[in-house]
């Protein structure tokens, strides 16, 4: 064999296995703002995640993000929160939580995304969004003038989801 041989995609020396990941329908659900529904939301998202071909580790990350954002929504004491997950194959999942804020909490400031996890590890407050930030490509929290909040995180799945394997085996 020529030592300078550089195999191309159609080279007979290579076998290519490709698994195409198709996009699945969005997860969209509205929940009454109760603590127990946070666990319910995680259970239902866990089922949806099976269709994303993501690794178990990434699924756990996404469930943690769902839990953190949903917890913040429940703390706003509105009537409900809306949870939406979208899969953008092969590698991205967006997680969005919308909630209204109880009128009794007017003036409540939304949790800050600027808290750094290392600043005060033993602080008893304020690490939820920082955890989301650590697990995400990006996090955005938007509060409207009426107090309604939308929090959105984008997660990159492991590159293994686009399983394009090139092996040297014949």
């Amino acid at each position: 064999m020529d030592a300078n041989h550089k195999p191309g995609r159609s080279d007979p020396l290579l076998s290519t296995q490709t698994r195409t990941v198709t996009r699945i329908a969005d997860f969209e659900q509205r929940y009454a703002s109760t603590g127990n529904n946070i666990g319910l939301a995680r259970s239902e998202v866990e089922v949806w995640l099976k269709g994303t071909a993501s690794t178990a580790d990434k699924q756990q990350d996404i469930l943690l993000i769902v839990s953190e954002l949903s917890s913040n929504a429940v703390q706003a004491e509105g009537p409900y929160f809306e949870l939406t997950l979208s899969h953008h194959p092969p590698e991205l999942v967006t997680i969005k939580v919308f909630n209204q804020v109880s009128p009794t909490l007017t003036g409540r400031r939304i949790p800050s995304i600027h808290t750094r996890l290392g600043d005060d590890p033993l602080s008893e407050q304020g690490r939820g969004l920082s955890i989301v930030k650590a697990l995400s490509l990006s996090v955005c929290v938007d509060q409207r003038l009426n107090g309604d909040v939308t929090a959105e995180a984008v997660v990159q799945l492991d590159k293994g989801c686009d399983e394009r394997l090139i092996s040297g085996d014949n």
Partner: protein
């Protein structure tokens, strides 16, 4: 029945030693506070986390509260057999260097 008990179970293994089984979040974390805070602060507390399948920042908060109350009383909170999900969260929050974790 408290719906929270469906997702989390707390069992006492011996005096000062408890095992948590299931999920720790904002809904179930208060169960840990209410039960474990009955144990005297001046005595060390051991918590087996091997069967914790999920934990979020609410769970961390209650563990930190228990840790601080015991440190203030010259005792310890010792976390044992931490599950992978617990370990990962402790690592990303920088708490592995601040809590007592048994190998």
């Amino acid at each position: 029945m408290n719906p929270g008990t469906e997702r989390l179970r707390i069992s006492q293994q011996s005096e000062g030693a408890y095992a948590l089984v299931g999920e720790i979040d904002t809904h179930t974390a208060p169960l840990i506070s209410s039960e474990l805070n009955e144990f005297p602060e001046e005595r060390s507390l051991h918590i087996d986390l091997a069967q914790v399948t999920f934990i979020d920042s609410s769970g961390l908060r209650v563990l930190i509260e228990l840790h601080k109350s015991r440190e203030a009383a010259n005792a310890k909170l010792v976390l044992e057999k931490i599950s992978p999900s617990v370990e990962k969260l402790l690592q990303i929050t920088g708490l592995t260097d601040h809590l007592h974790i048994a190998e």
